[in-house]
Amino acid sequence: MARAVSRNTKIGWTIAAWAVALLIFFPILYTIITSLKSEQEAIAGFDLIPSFTLESYQTVQSQNNYWRPFTNSVILAVGSTLLALIVAIPAAWAMAFSPTKRTKDILMWMLSTKMMPAVAVLVPIYLIFLRTGLMDTRIGLTVLLMMINLPIVVWMLYTYFREIPGEILEAARMDGATLRDEILYVLTPMAIPGIASTLLLNIILAWNEAFWTIQLTTTNAAPLSAFIASFSSPQGLFWAKLSAASVMAIAPILVLGWFSQKQLVRGLTFGAVK
């Protein structure tokens, strides 16, 4: 039975929820507002009403070509995600449907690599990139981003696959399905929501990755995260331009996130509630 909640309590909670949401969203909102100001307005102090000038955007675009890092971001995010899925789907499959005594340990070990600070392996990876000629290349960075996010991708898919009842796969086997038929006609269609939300989340994670992209790129392979960083030092005092660059960097992923909210929430909470 649902608990009876008084009208006032409801209003109170609604206001509180909106307040928290606004608080979290405020930095992004203020960045957008600032990007629409002139430089004088931007440094003048706190003001929520901009003059709606696009001057900063024009300057950013004319000084640094936006489309190059944008293309790099798309290639890195989508490429590393697809690569990760190709590796993770069979891995998660094996762990979910024919687990061994060590499966849990392997999963924990994979997750533990995410607990290590990235800077701890910066030097070796930097040297590997330097010596193999992968520095500032899209291919090098795609592979690296794939490996960074792989544990999360495997975990998410594993949780999804575990929810698929084993008896359904056994039924398919009894019905004469080969391993290929089983994967193609039964498992994949049932796992599509899970694969889709994993894909979305991983694209977002890869898009936002800043540590490695800044360390290992200069111009050729630099994505949007490096693009913003490149603004912060020479243009650090030009807040309107910096804001415009930031908005341009986060806009695509914000739009993607907005439209795929439902999938994402479902993906992240999947398996938590039966």
Partner: protein, 333 residues
């Protein structure tokens, strides 16, 4: 054809031997029920026959051919699962068509077989629905339909009715029995419910801890249980089992008397006791008699019209010719 022979079939999970070497022959067209308490290995045995588990030792022959290492798909058997295991993303029609599609059956032939199965199972008006839109009984029928269309050499049922409510269960029980009469195909049916076993089987296999305790027709098991375990497991309500002086009188370690083989009377008899709980079903009455000094309670089945009250003193007399006697090992004398 659907003769299935198990020769020395053994299953170990790591160190644990869940099924010690076991021999069994299931004749073509037989309805065989594996029954036993939960954890007795009956489902594992069925899965070994299906090919969903690998045997640790021994051979499985299907129609004389060794199928021990054959994949489930190649054994020509169909299975109905406890959870129905329907494909949730496919319509009923596609679910039933799936094994035919896998076998490469032509489209017109597929349609013909689906229509026939749907008609036989009253599913015609549900063919375009998804499993999620069906009731438990309808889902079970779809699962049976999916098994029928393959025209397998044997059907395997793994506790197919345990997710249904009592009324539906009785109905489906009859439907499965009718199906067997019509198809005359071998059926192996796993259940923990001995009523299902007694009512459906041609042959019952009673299992305990992976061992076969007795194989026989339902009446055989009822009238001549081979040991104390089978005596106590088959029959509802349970057979009354006593040991001690009452058993020694008959030259046995343990004796068993079924509730219907004990006469209850207010006037006099062999054993004296007091009526505890009584259950009146109309056709029969069951009395649970306490304080007899033989066992905690003795169950007696009497005519529906017999009325006795809680606390009444009664006398019980067993039908001497129907007492089952067991030795120190629990085996029938």
């Amino acid at each position: 054809m659907g003769q299935i022979t198990l020769q020395g079939v053994t299953k170990r999970f790591g160190e644990v031997e869940v099924i010690p070497p076991l021999d069994l022959t299931i004749e073509d067209g037989e309805f065989v029920v594996f029954v036993g308490p939960s954890g007795c290995g009956k489902s594992t045995l069925l899965r070994l026959i299906a090919g969903l588990e690998d045997v640790s030792a021994g051979d499985i022959l299907i129609d004389g051919k060794n199928a021990t290492d054959a994949s489930p798909a190649r054994r020509g058997l169909a299975m109905v699962f406890q959870s129905y295991a329907l494909y949730p993303h496919m319509s009923v029609r596609k679910n039933i068509a799936f094994p035919l599609k896998m076998a490469g059956v032509s489209k017109p032939e597929q349609d013909r077989r689906i229509e026939a199965a749907a008609k036989a199972l009253n599913l015609t008006s549900y063919l375009d629905r998804r499993p999620g839109q069906l009731s438990g009984g309808q889902r079970q029928r779809v699962a049976i339909g999916r098994a029928i269309v393959r025209e397998p050499s044997a059907f395997l049922f793994d506790e197919p009715l345990s997710n249904l409510d009592a009324a539906l269960r009785v109905g489906m029980r009859l439907e499965i029995s009718e199906l067997h009469n019509r198809l005359k195909t071998t059926m192996i049916y796993v259940t923990h419910d001995q009523v299902e076993a007694m009512t459906m089987a041609d042959k019952i296999v009673v299992l305990q801890a992976g061992r076969i305790e007795q194989v026989g027709s339902p009446l055989d098991l009822y009238l001549r249980p081979k040991n104390v375990f089978v005596a106590g497991f088959i029959g509802s309500p349970r057979m009354n089992l006593f040991s001690g002086a009452a058993a020694a009188e008959y030259g046995a370690m343990t004796i068993g008397v079924r509730p219907e083989h004990i006469r209850i009377s207010g006037q006099g008899g062999k054993w004296k006791g007091r009526v505890g709980v009584s259950e009146h079903l109309g056709s029969d009455s069951f009395f649970y008699v306490e304080d007899t000094g033989l066992a905690e309670t003795i169950t007696v089945r009497a005519d529906g019209e017999v009325t006795l009250h809680h606390g009444d003193t009664v006398w019980l007399t067993p039908d001497e010719g129907k007492i089952h006697r067991f030795d120190t090992n629990g085996d029938r004398i």
